[in-house]
């Protein structure tokens, strides 16, 4: 009887020791809302950590409905290469080149708010600002062509919440400005709202989806961008494989100038491969 008392009392004593330590959860920032700095085409709230250089190479092949002659699109491909560098904690800069319309990009990305595990912000917010330079030869070299006509801009706020271990959701209010548009019917400015998310199927694989709804679009030819794909992570690499109706891989192109229709099979297969270098 006494021994039972001693045993239980010493057991209790240890629980007591733990109660002294309390259950103070460290209120850390939520990590890995998304595996990559892009959900699919669009930016995610993630950016390279301080001192990290991220190299991303992306391909979009031709449309799947182009038939056997084009090997269902594999024969045609457009590509994008980018370098992003984490200047300090929560701020990165990037350079990129797209073969689509021979477009150069310079961008900056800043984390404004970080979701916390317990108390604090329920969402993370990152802003993204990019200027695009179209370097195609002038359509009409005879007329007066200004360099500023080559420029367009995109500004986005990514607002995301890691709901649980598997599910992360993001909305992306976006504003795009083109200095020069092709026809008078086109707007120089337009707004869009992006919806994105990922669901983890296993520790290293997730399924991702993304949709951009464009508000003021008078042009009938263009459609909203819809993409679905997988993220596969292997250590320092993230592979993203996806199907999308957008051929362009930069914001102005896939938000505002998507022409493919899912219903007609204008679907592009594509992939992003990112590699992180710790400098």
């Amino acid at each position: 009887m006494l021994s039972i008392y001693i045993v239980t009392s010493s057991l209790f004593a240890q629980d007591n020791l733990f109660s002294l330590l309390g259950d103070d959860e460290t209120n850390e920032e939520v990590y890995a809302t998304f595996k990559g700095t892009r959900v699919i085409n669009g930016q995610s709230i993630e950016l390279p950590a301080k001192g990290d250089l991220q190299f991303v190479i992306e391909h979009r092949f031709g449309t799947i409905n182009s038939g056997a002659y084009e090997l269902w699109g594999i024969d045609q491909s457009t590509m994008r290469m980018s370098l992003d560098y984490g200047v300090c904690d929560g701020f990165s800069v990037g350079l990129a080149r797209n073969s689509f319309q021979k477009t150069f990009e310079a961008s900056a990305k800043a984390k404004l708010l970080k979701q916390k595990v317990a108390d604090g912000s329920p969402v993370s917010i990152t802003s993204y600002h990019v200027v695009f330079v179209n370097s195609l030869r002038w359509l009409d070299p005879e007329r007066e062509n200004l360099f500023s006509s080559r420029l367009s801009y995109a500004h986005q706020f990514m607002i995301a919440r890691k709901v649980n271990r598997s599910l992360s959701l993001q909305i992306t209010p976006s504003y795009i400005h083109r200095n020069l548009v092709e026809t008078t019917a086109m707007n120089n400015d337009y707004m869009a709202l992006g919806f994105g998310g990922r669901y983890k199927l296993s520790k290293r694989v997730s399924i991702n989806a993304e949709y951009f709804y464009q508000f003021n679009r008078p042009e009938e030819d263009f459609t909203n961008s819809l993409s679905i794909g997988f993220d596969i992570e292997t250590g320092g690499h993230v592979f993203q494989l996806h199907l999308t109706n957008s051929q362009g891989m930069f914001e102005r192109a896939f938000i505002g100038e998507t022409t493919g229709k899912w219903s007609q099979g204008d679907i592009y297969f594509g992939f992003n491969i990112s590699r992180l270098f710790d400098l």
């Binding site: 020791l17 733990f18 330590l21 959860e25 990590y31 250590g235 320092g236």
Partner: protein
């Protein structure tokens, strides 16, 4: 619940008025994977809670997994997400006691501590060597031991198996003050 807890606390604090308890919330746990491996993994956590009761030799450690910080951010993310799964198992604990009570704490004592390590949801009995000394009313302890990832259900995927070590060298440093 709080009332009950308070009562229990009161009861035990009466029962153990003579208890000599030392505590810290800033003990340090450092770990280093096998240096022979290609990817050397090391991290430090200096928000570890520890209590030692010198009257009966009880020891308790509580380690928040998210407080391990790495030099490389991506490694920290992978550690939390893919290996220790800190969202499912947010903390590791050790509860145990001295095998023999330390004798004269004014000089350095080498004692063995026996107890249950709970880490990644797996409990394992361990015996750990500890060096202990009282320095100006502060109980200073140090310990080093080896953990095997495989003992605690931490799987290293095949593709990185030749890059990451199963053996983890753990170092603990604590300076506890009387409460």
């Amino acid at each position: 619940m709080m009332k009950k807890l308070f009562l229990i606390l009161l009861l035990f604090s009466v029962g153990q008025l003579m208890a000599q308890r030392y505590m810290t919330r800033n003990a340090e746990v450092y770990f280093l994977s096998d240096m022979d491996a290609i990817e050397v993994v090391e991290a430090t956590n200096n928000q570890v809670g520890a209590v030692i009761d010198l009257t009966n030799g009880d020891i308790a450690f509580q380690i928040q997994m998210r407080a391990f910080h790495f030099e490389i951010a991506l490694m920290e993310e992978h550690f939390n997400e893919n290996y220790v799964e800190s969202e499912i198992y947010p903390k590791a604990t050790f509860r145990g006691g001295f095998v023999e009570m330390p004798e004269n704490l004014d000089q350095e004592n080498k004692v063995m501590v026996k107890g249950i390590m709970e880490f990644h949801g797996v409990q394992k009995e361990m015996v750990i060597p500890v060096r202990l000394q009282m320095q100006d009313e502060v109980l200073v302890g140090e310990s080093g031991f080896v953990l095997l990832c495989s003992d605690f259900g931490i799987k290293i995927p095949k593709i990185v198996a030749d890059k990451l070590a199963n053996e983890i060298q753990v170092t603990v440093k604590a300076a506890l003050t009387k409460i």
